[in-house]
Symmetry: C2
Subunit: 180 residues, 2 copies
Amino acid sequence: MFNHEVGKLLPMTTETGATPHDQDVNWLDESQQRSWRAYLVGTTLLMDRLDRDLREQHRLSLPEYEILVRLSEVRGNRMRMAVLADSVSHSRSRVTHTVTRMEQAGLVTRDSCLSDGRGVEAVLTPYGRQVLENAAPTHVAGVRAMLVDLAADDDFAAVGRVFDAVADKLVESNPALDIR
Amino acid sequence: MFNHEVGKLLPMTTETGATPHDQDVNWLDESQQRSWRAYLVGTTLLMDRLDRDLREQHRLSLPEYEILVRLSEVRGNRMRMAVLADSVSHSRSRVTHTVTRMEQAGLVTRDSCLSDGRGVEAVLTPYGRQVLENAAPTHVAGVRAMLVDLAADDDFAAVGRVFDAVADKLVESNPALDIR
DNA sequence: AGGCCTTCGTTGAATGTTCAACCACGAGGT
DNA sequence: ACCTCGTGGTTGAACATTCAACGAAGGCCT
């Protein structure tokens, strides 16, 4: 018998039935599925919105904003490219491109690293700091309005725990290769 | 006095100090900041990884996979483009492009809608179903290993609640405009 | 029938991201 | 000094996404 209804599964579960090596798959249960899908669409909409707000109000993308924040937090307002990349969890290539755009916009400059001939540091400019300081209030307000203030404190703390674990796991299992 | 240390704030909080209209900003507290950042990097790493796994093992991107799932779940395995777009929370344009690629790969076909001359339906092909059924177990295993099984049941349920609220809020406040 | 407004979906260009290849430099061994 | 290897960062092309503009059809009103 041929099963045309794959079943109500979240973006990933697909209770098949007429498929190769099945029933040894550990599908998500109903409630897990709902949570997973809520997370998927919620995250999509949220990131989309935060990015849009920053762009419209400050001509800044979310990834650019994150880089400005990282630079603003360290002493000297300068960071090696690789460290910066790790800290935002983006590929090196991506950070190179992003920093190039930010450099053209006057938000940062590049400076070669004295202690290591290969190294390059991204440096926050006064203008970059200014843009960040203008953008930050808008952004925080958005994060509150669309996320933090919608959740019970305990629930939001749980989100923190869960994704801490996720990040640990994924940094851990990072296939030594420059996987990114 | 000029404040060079912006302060330890999450990707968004930036306790400024020497800035325009400050202190009327409702910054996140320490714990909220940690949660927010964990969520940001965790999500980045997680999506990255799930996408990579699908690509390497099944020549399928995560957005493509989600579309296959949606189609597989609905009666007739066909869906209007707009409904599909809403269900995955992507822009119509994006879905148009994605479906075009998927059509070229033989995963879906397009069919014009009889009841509405403007309408177009995406239809899952048998091959598309096959690819989905092959990919699903891998994908679910990934979702479990990098997320679900790392979290306490209560914590994961909390994630569901939080992002349900987020999605509701954002669909709600959707500026009537075809914002996407 | 005509006109106006909206929604549906597509298009192509601009923008961002990934991917593979690459060069320069540092580290360790001989 | 010389290899060899790994790392840091960049490059350009391929690929994916966004954005603004558009044509086609439905809905409504007169």
